[in-house]
Symmetry: C2
Subunit: 146 residues, 2 copies
């Protein structure tokens, strides 16, 4: 039995208007987004984790659920792992414990490997292996993209 | 103008059944909660931040809003500051920029000082000074309660 590592790698806000939300965080909060290749998502490096802004419909689709405002809370928490195997081991273990699998782990369009489970209260947790993001020995994201 | 520090100190899930949620995270995820004096809230030390479980009605009340399932998303993000003054300065600055103040900073029942703003999408951000939680030089929570 492998337990999920006790950390948070991403907090993702499912936003209704990505341009407006990016404007809010850059202009009102004065935060600096990370450079990235996609226009469709915005990242902010926080302390050992990343805050991302992503359109709510796409976030729902990524988890494979319906964005009807009822069940989907429009945010997700993610735990990055060190390998695809670790992701698989965590899913096997959670499944054995009766945790509801929302989306079994699979190759993701962005080059990684990820799946979703949910807690008893419909909060979504993603477990992901991202070959492009290094985790330090403490599990912190310190140098995204590098 | 002081910008909010670019970090997350707490991710708080507003849960419908605290006992069930604590059971989920301790039994299914196998996580170890922090010892604390209150039966009414559960904390998990993550990488430089804390995940807390708190009844949704109380979380809504803490932010001074109505838990009607419509506007309240049942989670909040918090940024801990180094002093009450820093919290005040951040609020003044955000107010000047037209950010909606949900609850102006005030002494909190738990001995700290905190207030809430919201982003353009109704996501709640709390800014808090907590004299009982040390932040290291990077702004990480590394030794809660100590």
């Amino acid at each position: 039995m492998i337990n999920p590592p006790q950390r948070i790698s991403f907090v993702t806000l499912g936003v209704s208007d990505l341009t407006a939300s990016k404007k809010f965080y850059t202009e009102k909060f004065g935060w600096h987004p990370l450079e990235n290749d996609s226009e469709g998502i915005v990242f902010f490096q926080m302390n050992g984790l990343i805050l991302s802004l992503f359109p709510d419909s796409e976030l729902a689709a990524d988890a494979g659920i319906i964005n009807n405002g009822a069940g989907f809370k429009r945010f997700t928490l993610a735990i990055n792992c060190y390998s695809e195997q670790e992701v698989n081991d965590i899913f096997s273990s959670l499944k054995e414990k009766g945790v509801e699998i929302v989306k079994p782990p699979e190759k993701a369009f962005w080059g990684g490997y990820s799946g979703y489970v949910k807690d008893n209260d419909n909060n979504l947790w993603e477990f992901a292996y991202n070959p492009f993001i290094a985790l330090d020995n403490s599990g912190n994201i310190t140098s995204p993209g590098g």
